[in-house]
Assembly symmetry: C2
Homo-oligomer: 357 residues x 2
């Protein structure tokens, strides 16, 4: 097998952690005997924006559409490009045009990682957040009236389609069905948001009727967020709209102490278009350029990418290697985890663990 | 002074905890020498709905508008009334018609209360969430097209007005100015929600220019939620839109272990209309009718109500009494806190502490 991978480091620490991800992917390819064909693209970053006044070239779609996956670092450099410009000009374009309608994020308490929650052990917390990734609250539909006056009024539309809601629910129910607990939790707010959220609930009920073996419950987003802190052991697969999924998929990793190392997939399940894998952390301007960023989020994202590409053994191999290095702890971790390693040092450690050399 | 208070117990445990709140208020009035004139209203509950097909009588506004405050229990009984019906038919009507545009909730780690967060001590966490309470994401504007077909599309409008945004920001900045740290955090999502949230940010910047002594920062809601868990000590006054404030004001009390006992105020700061004080917890159908609900959320809400009415000494007295009873702990607390007391028993304990008898 040969998989064609587009590599886009982006901004800030994206540039530092992506090479570590690539290093680990190359080691996995030779250990597990498949071929990865990388091509690097130096756009979707602040330098490109400074030169061209936009984040991407005209023909980005044609350049990227033929790849099997995109291996992405991070985008965002607020000193020179406002966040909504850099994100709507790149990452959110990829999500929409490549119809990456699933954002998938594991929430998992790993050995060796300190959780901020009292008394939780590895194994206690192990679930997925499945987020709708193309529509909902992230529309650019809306506008202003009476602009600049005291009567100024701003409208922003949340748009949910049956197609959009049903396909994310189907993905989440399918995922729940593969899990031992077969339990799905839906995030709603139908008690306050009176049109879109009751609609979401109705579609969940309709889908649930087709998955009789899946146990379904729902929580309003306010108490659901609270329950991530109070009862993280309750969850197995949690599905939410674009905004609710966004919030929960940062909050979940925060609860397991993994926000700095959590991965994410922006997935087009049918593989009509390339999916994109990226760490949850952003470009981290505060530590960028110092070679101390933790590469595990990027490397864990590499594992998710291989899983998506069907290289399940290699995917598991990378995750096991990460787990072993984390469990060992100590100086070979980066400073954010109390160690003394550089970004590249920790990447090397994981390669060594993976290849058994 | 005489303050006229409308008492609305509502549904479920609201009926059990409200009498304890009233009991404590009466004790406070006689101890601190002012008069409270209570009138009870048996609407905004499922029984009323069953009889009348609506949550409130036609003339509710006229009945309630003359009161100085509304002392509210909880509403919601999903077995017989769908949540969005009960809430939009009562609580959300009060918020809108009485222009209770501030929702105020303390997030405070109290002695004797177990926080789910590792290593946090009383005093470490002590902030307010200020939530816009009338507009924003909680609009009922929107609708469906292609209903019932595969092309079904649902729209729901978020509406922000300059008046609405500026007045909540002003309240939050004013509050920040009274606090030792003078620090305000704004919840945004301008990187994903591209019209309303950048507008919110602009108004925060404009308001900040008028409060030079207040230190201002902002976080996107996803990472802000994560930071409630990771760095709750960072916050002093946190201000957010209706939805973001809703999420944060459940998440905050979850982090301090107080979700079952936290209070809230729905406030019309100008006192043109009655403000409403209610516990954060809902009607709790699972434990309703057993006389074991914890009345502290209701009693703490009583303290907030007296503060709003200008009875600051009595307000502090109630909060001190609650703190002392919590710190003592043991059997005199309700079962949710590991004790053996009934709702009324814990109410009596707090009265005794307050009156020193
Ligand atoms: C019940 C619901 C409509 C309400 C809200 O979201 O405003 C509740 O969660 C609250 O926070 O008071
Ligand atoms: C950067 C931002 C637009 C993005 C989002 O909200 O989708 C990020 O928070 C994420 O979760 O990938």
């Amino acid at each position: 097998h040969t998989h064609r991978i587009a590599v886009i480091p982006g901004d800030g620490i994206g540039k530092e952690v992506v090479p570590e991800g690539v290093k680990v992917l190359e080691a996995a390819a030779s250990t597990f005997d498949f071929t990865l064909d990388f091509e690097r693209f130096d756009y979707a970053n602040a330098e490109y924006y400074a030169q061209h006044g936009k984040m991407l070239p005209e023909n980005w779609f044609d350049q990227l559409v033929g790849f099997d996956s995109i291996f992405f670092g991070a985008v965002g450099w607020p000193d020179t490009v406002p966040d909504h410009v850099s994100l709507w000009g790149s990452l959110l374009q990829f999500r929409r045009h490549f119809d990456q309608y699933v954002s998938l994020r594991p929430v998992k308490l790993l050995p060796g990682v300190t959780s901020p929650l009292v008394g939780r052990e590895p194994g206690d917390i192990d679930f997925y957040v499945v987020r709708e990734n193309t529509e909902g609250e992230y529309s650019s539909v809306g506008g202003k009236i009476f602009e600049g006056t005291e009567r100024e009024t701003v409208m922003q539309e949340t748009v949910m389609t049956r197609t959009g809601v049903d396909r994310i629910l189907k993905y989440a129910f399918d995922l729940a069905q593969t899990r031992p607990k077969k339990h799905l939790t839906s995030a709603t707010k139908s008690n306050g948001i009176s049109i879109s959220m009751p609609y979401w609930d109705t579609r969940v009920e309709a889908m649930a009727a087709r998955y009789e073996d899946v146990r379904v419950d729902k929580f309003h987003i306010d108490i659901l967020a609270a329950n991530f802190v109070l009862h993280p052991d309750w969850f197995d697969v949690v599905v939410g709209s674009n905004l609710f999924g966004d919030i929960l998929s940062d909050l979940g990793p925060a609860c397991t102490g993994t926000i700095g190392i959590a991965p994410s997939g922006n997935i087009n399940p049918e593989r009509r278009f390339p999916s994109l894998f990226e760490p949850v952390h952003g470009s981290a301007p505060d530590i960028a350029g110092r070679g101390i960023a933790n590469p595990i989020g990027q490397i864990w994202s590499a594992s998710m990418m291989l899983e998506h590409l069907g290289e399940t053994e290699a995917a598991a191999g990378i995750l096991d290697a990460v787990g072993a290095v984390l469990a060992r702890g100590g100086a070979s971790l980066t400073p954010d985890m109390g160690g003394q390693a550089t970004t590249a040092g920790l990447g090397d450690e994981i390669v060594t663990q993976l290849t058994g050399e």
